[in-house]
């Protein structure tokens, strides 16, 4: 019985053992993520009229999502906010990652990384709400600035608008940006920096010619890790965004819940996810080309 013995042999092989081990998490992700995602795609081509569902395939939800002014405006605003959050988070995080990697003594690095991640175990909702307390009309920032005599009237441009959303989200995502940048910086062979110095580069030149290019994979990972998920946050804009700070995620939530138009919500969700994924891929591709051209 050559077939069964071949099967028996395959069953003992490394490939079989690996596949068998990987299959429970894989099947779980397949049934709970891949299949539901396919269901959402299917759903986005259907029509819902209050509670009855029409399964005739139609592009109408996508037409609405891509052409009606309100959805266009929300999508563009969301992309802008996500892009600004990404830029702010990465730029603010780089120096701190650099500091921990290059200036903190090796024995203290773990402690610093721990210090950076601790605040993020505060309840997510309470943390956002506390930013409201900090930025509000009678808040901590205005109170301190007025107390110091730096301003006469409370600042109003810091809460219930896009600035507040960007600040709150940058805060929420900071550790997710710091960690990959830190890891990339840690991997840099320190002798390369000495070589650059020996060849006559000053600190600034050395940073831009050696450190930054070598840290780029971490920076790019940080950018993508922040950019993609922020598009899906509907809590932050609701709590600190004010009337003009609402984003596409709020609209998706509204369509699925109160507005009872889940197919339109599905089309909006799929569109948003596709747009951020495509932007991320282009962004990564451009950077890879740029890094290669310099190498």
């Amino acid at each position: 019985m050559p077939n069964s013995s071949r099967f028996a042999k395959w069953r003992r092989s490394e490939a079989f053992r690996g596949l068998a081990l990987a299959s429970p998490p894989f099947l779980y992700a397949l049934t709970m993520l891949a299949a539901p995602l396919a269901a959402v795609v299917l759903f986005s081509f259907w029509t819902q009229d209050y509670l009855t569902l029409d399964r005739t395939p139609t592009w109408n939800n996508y037409k609405t999502a891509w052409t009606e002014a309100i959805y266009q405006a929300l999508m563009l605003r969301s992309l802008k906010v996500s892009a600004l959050v990404t830029a702010a988070t990465v730029i603010l995080s780089f120096p701190i990652a650099y500091y921990v990697s290059f200036r903190v003594s090796p024995r203290r690095k773990t402690l610093w990384i721990f210090l950076i991640t601790i605040p993020f175990w505060t309840s997510y909702l309470m943390r956002i709400f506390l930013w409201k307390v900090i930025l509000g009309y009678n808040g901590v920032v205005n109170g301190s600035l007025m107390g110091l005599g730096l301003i006469e009237e409370p600042l109003t441009f810091i809460l219930y608008n896009q600035n507040a959303v960007i600040l709150t989200l940058s805060h929420a995502w900071a550790p997710f940006a710091i960690l990959p940048i830190f890891v990339a910086l840690e991997r840099i062979d320190r002798s390369l920096l000495e070589a650059s110095e020996d060849l006559g580069d000053g600190p600034v030149r050395r940073f831009f010619r050696v450190t930054l290019p070598l840290a780029m994979p971490g920076v790019l990972a940080a950018a993508v890790i922040v950019f993609i998920p922020t598009i899906g946050d509907y809590v932050t804009p609701r709590l600190v965004g004010g009337p003009n700070g609402l984003l596409i995620a709020n609209m998706i939530e509204l369509q699925f819940k109160k507005a009872n138009n889940a197919p339109l919500g599905a089309a909006l969700a799929i569109s948003a996810m596709l747009i951020v994924t495509i932007i991320s891929i282009i962004f990564l591709w451009l950077n890879r080309r740029y890094i290669r051209s310099r190498a």
């Binding site: 990987a22 901590v140 919500g265």
Partner: protein, 270 residues
């Protein structure tokens, strides 16, 4: 390398202030004797913590959340163990694709996870319940578990297992008697991290909850009522203290796991 660290150190300190600003205000207002969440502070009180004791809806939500978080932790860690073991020990066809799908929830907007599970569950005619929240939470916690356990398995010395098999132990016995004890601290760390993530998760739970609430859903509902905020501050303070205790334990266990397998503690950080 020590030159000009002054400006950077100042920046690092300022950044920590920014990071800690909300977390520090939480206990400050939880103990403040005023219904209004603003400075100046008016005095010390334990009233808001006392009110936690009398809030029945809060107790129900907490019990639901604890049940969800414990179940999620066990299931995600079990799946994470399989994934981490397969990824670190074996080569097999389509490995990158299979592992990629398992790790995808890490970079997916949570709203997509929530929405897609909601659509699938409703299409199958299932009712939303605590169980459906668990399905979503296991999905997002498994990658974290796989990452934590991956570093534990990575540091494992293969020759220990080979020796056990050469000495006649079966594969299962070897895993039970040799591998598992060595990575046990990693398993516990994964349980704790998954538990903590699930306990605080709102975006997915809000989509997948039926009539029952979880703790974050309860907090979300109460945030609309200004008179309820001080009690929420007290709840948040208790949660923060609990999370920190759990995570400090997880970190301690993770390090002792790495020490047991004989590697440098700072190395396995990511």
């Amino acid at each position: 390398m020590r030159r000009k660290s002054g400006a950077l150190a100042v920046y690092a300190a300022a950044f920590l202030v920014f990071l800690y600003a909300p977390a520090i205000l939480l206990p400050v207002f939880a103990f403040n004797d005023s219904k209004i969440i603003a400075f100046p502070l008016s005095g010390f009180t334990l009233e808001w913590f006392r009110q936690i004791l009398g809030a029945d809806a809060l107790h129900d939500a907490t019990l639901n959340s604890l049940f969800i978080a414990m179940t999620t932790a066990v299931l995600a860690t079990a799946l994470g163990t399989f994934a981490a073991r397969a990824a670190t020990r074996y080569k097999f066809p389509a490995k990158a694709g299979i592992m990629g799908l398992v790790m995808t929830p890490l970079v997916l907007p949570e709203i997509i996870v929530g929405v897609s599970l909601l659509v699938a569950i409703l299409q199958l005619g299932m009712e939303l319940s605590l169980f459906t929240i668990i399905l979503g939470h296991v999905l997002i916690c498994t990658p974290f578990s796989a990452a934590i356990l991956g570093s534990a398995f990575q540091n494992l010395d293969n020759s220990l297992e080979e020796a056990s098999i050469d000495l006649g132990r079966s594969r299962f016995d070897t895993f039970r008697l040799i591998t598992l004890p060595l990575v046990l601290p990693g398993v516990l760390a994964s349980l704790l991290v998954s538990f903590t993530i699930s306990l605080d998760e709102f975006i997915i739970a809000f989509f997948l909850a039926g009539n029952e609430t979880t703790l974050p859903i309860y907090i979300w509902g109460q945030l609309r009522f200004p008179q309820k905020i001080p009690t929420l501050m007290a709840v948040g303070t208790v949660l923060l203290a609990a999370s920190l205790t759990l995570l400090a334990t997880a970190e301690f266990l993770r390090r002792s796991s790495i020490r047991r397998t004989g590697a440098d503690a700072a190395k396995g950080l990511m």
